[in-house]
Every structure is written in C-alpha cells, then in structure tokens.
Subunit: 158 residues, 2 copies
C-alpha cells in the first residue's frame, strides 16, 4: 500500500462535553447520575446529513482522540495486575486513536447541533462520524467481556 492510498479523514465537527481535560473524563459515563448533556456540533455544510435522525433513540459517535498520545500495544491498566493488549481494552492510546461512544439522543438544539448523553471525551474533541444505532446488529446484551467481566474484576485481588 503506497502512501497515496492511506486513509484521509477530516473532522466534520466538534464534541462539547463538561470535561475540560483528560484527567476530568469519567472512566464510565454510565456511572454519572444524572449523565450530563453533551453536544455534537457538525461543521457548516454537514447539517443536511442529520436529516431523519430524529426517530433514533441512540447513536454511535466516532471521534478522533487527538489528545491520546502515542500507542501502547501492551500495557498494564491502572486497575489490573496484568498486562493487556491494546485491542482488548478501550484505552485511547491506540495505533489509530478513533474513539467510539454509544450515546442517547436527547434532541436537536439547532439544525447543526445534537444533544446527547454518555460522551466521555475531552471538550472540543474532533468529530469523525455519526451512525444510527441499530439494535438488530449492534446490541448483544449477552456478550461476554473476558478480562473486563465485572465479576472477574471484583474477584481479583487489587
């Protein structure tokens, strides 16, 4: 693959959250009650692409983890005694730092701004894509979570 064939992506907007810096980002926004309202702002020209979103209760947001720093292929998470492969974690320090969040769509603030819950990234994070969440292909409530199973984690010595 030549350099000319590398993917070229362009931010299409910004994510607005209450988290000013990486250190403020929650490890799990589902643990925040109430979950704060965040904003998905699309840049000028992209608003027509939001047409027909209003009937979806949930969306998938992809964004560029521009403050993640370099990648660690194997690292020991702070809450775990063992090294883990990056692809078995949701750490932002990935070879391609693309973040993913399943968010609840609360509504439109304007033609180019969505109100959502359950973003956990830094304020100002560049937006890459918005996809409708499809329970028919995206929801797997019985999925097993390997080393991240809550029971396994609770049973492990700190």
């Amino acid at each position: 693959m030549s350099a000319g064939e590398l993917p070229r992506f362009t931010p299409i907007g910004r994510l607005r959250t209450p988290f000013a810096a990486l250190a403020d980002c929650p490890r799990n926004t589902r643990a925040l009650d109430p979950a704060p309202i965040c904003r998905v702002e699309v840049a000028a020209g992209y608003a027509p692409g939001l047409k027909s979103l209003e009937g979806f209760s949930h969306l998938i947001i992809l964004y560029w983890l521009d403050q993640a720093g370099g990648a660690d292929l194997v690292f020991t998470p702070p809450f775990d005694p063992q090294p883990r492969g990056i692809f078995a974690t949701r750490s932002p320090r990935r070879p391609n730092p693309i973040g993913l969040a399943v968010v609840e769509l609360e509504g439109f603030e304007g033609p180019d701004t969505l109100l959502v819950r359950h973003l956990d990234c830094v304020d100002g994070t560049p937006l890459l894509d918005i996809k409708p969440y499809l329970r028919t292909t995206d929801a797997v409530p019985e999925a097993r979570m390997g080393w991240l199973e809550p029971k396994e984690r609770a049973n492990r010595a700190p």
Copy 2:
C-alpha cells in the same frame, strides 16, 4: 484547524471475507445462515495488541471503506421512498468512510489472525481498529431505530 492537525490513520491489517466486490456484500450478514467465517489479519508488529482478547465473545471492528466512493450527504436509499441524511444511515458513502461491524469472535487462527462472523465488507478491506465489545456500554437492546424500524419499513408502500 490547520492541515498539520488532521488525523493521520494507518491501516493495521486487512479483513478477509467471501465478498470479492461491493455487489457481493450482503445488506445484513445476520440474514446469512450460517454466517460465513471471516478473518481479521493484523499486520506484522501488531499481534501483541491482541493479548487478552480470547475471553470476549464479541468485538467491534473499525475499517476503512476504501471502495465507497464519494459522500452523499442526503440520498434516497434503494428500499425507501424518501431522502435520508447520511448520518441516519449506515451507507458506506460517508464524509469519513469508516465502517463499523459488531462481530462474534470464534477464535484465533494464528497469533495475528482472528476468526469472526458477521463482517459484511469487501475482501481486503483495510483494518483501522479492534475494540472489545462491552455489553455494559455498547448493548442497547431497547433502542428505537427511527425510519429503519422493521415495522415502519414493512408498513411502508414499496
């Protein structure tokens, strides 16, 4: 944002599927029974990042839709009478053509190759990221699917 700040992503492997061309890709791989086994091949050097994946039943695969062609912000899907915004669809013709699939992990074929079900992209599609699927944040079985609700589509005149 200057050009120097644009996201720079690099394919980290390839997806191997039975679908040789776009026209062969199924609209919904969940409809294929049995779903074919596909391969996620990571490039040399990235295999250590797969450590600890073995306990997860499902993964999220992100890939570069390199054959998608240009973006349509608003378009009329072939099975729908109305124009829809691109962000309310899973069409590959997106401003940033990043594909997403929730796949079932069947196992390892080797240290750098995963066997999975439910990929629906063209054979050879460049891989961008592998994430563990977390039912605690990614599974929303009650999500409403707007204009893509099966009932709404069934009730609509062809």
